[in-house]
């Protein structure tokens, strides 16, 4: 039904903006954390030692910087994916079967591949500085849902490409 369709699109649009806001907030948090690592390292090291989460709190500052850098990169990828999704949703209101959407979905697929690849060093760095039983050490690594999302994006891109070609053919049929 058209009403349900437009409601769903409206909700999706709102959710995408909300997610963008959350990612932006997370990015600010990462930047602030980087600043704190520079300005307040002795306090942070002392706090980290007390938490008993980290293996060697005194020497882990470079790894924490690397961790924040990777997190920032993943968040940048998330912003890119969300912006592509926003463009997709915007086109869905009028005409979704356009070549640009197939390209967008393929770009989303590659962005998700990038995010998944960034999750590996994230996992290595996290597990190198944290106690293996802590949640912190389990950050990153292989994510089955992420791999499924990558496959989903590429399959959808192929579907959109084929759908666009079929519709072009149909439009040229008299």
């Amino acid at each position: 039904m058209p009403t349900d369709h437009s409601t769903l699109l409206g909700v999706t649009r709102g959710l995408l903006w909300l997610m963008l806001a959350l990612v932006a907030a997370a990015f600010l948090f990462v930047v602030a954390s980087g600043g704190a690592l520079v300005a307040m390292w002795p306090d942070i090291a002392a706090e980290a030692k007390n938490s008993k989460i980290f293996l060697d709190a005194d020497t882990m500052r470079p790894q924490l910087f690397a961790l924040l850098g990777i997190l920032a990169a993943i968040l940048a990828v998330a912003v890119y994916v969300l912006r592509q999704l926003q463009a997709l949703v915007a086109s869905a209101a009028s005409d979704p079967f356009i070549p640009a959407n197939a390209a967008r979905l393929r770009r989303i697929g590659w962005a998700l591949v990038t995010a998944q690849l960034l999750a590996f060093p994230l996992g290595w760095v996290a597990s190198s500085i944290a106690v293996s039983t802590s949640k912190f050490a389990n950050m990153g690594g292989i994510d089955l849902q992420g791999i499924l999302a990558i496959l989903f994006a590429f399959v959808l891109a192929a579907v959109f490409e084929r759908g666009t070609a079929m519709r072009d053919e149909l439009e040229g049929t008299i």
Partner: protein, 69 residues
């Protein structure tokens, strides 16, 4: 395109305009124009049937294959 649409010739022979044909067979002038200028990618049997019935011709009179096209 290798397939040549000879709608112009048939209309001329019948002293009919594209607008007349459009009115009689119920296919839009825009679509008939696309067909006439050879820009159509495909043609429905129902369209072929309607044109042939109205212009009293065979599909072969309307379409031709041009190997050099």
């Amino acid at each position: 395109m290798a397939i040549v649409v000879k709608l112009d010739d048939l209309l001329h022979a019948k002293r009919m305009t594209l607008t007349d044909l459009s009115d009689r067979i119920g296919i839009t002038l825009a679509n008939l124009s696309i067909l006439k200028t050879g820009k159509a990618k495909a043609m429905r049997f129902s369209t072929l049937e309607a044109i042939c019935a109205e212009l009293e011709c065979q599909p072969g009179d309307l379409l031709a294959f041009d190997a050099d096209g």
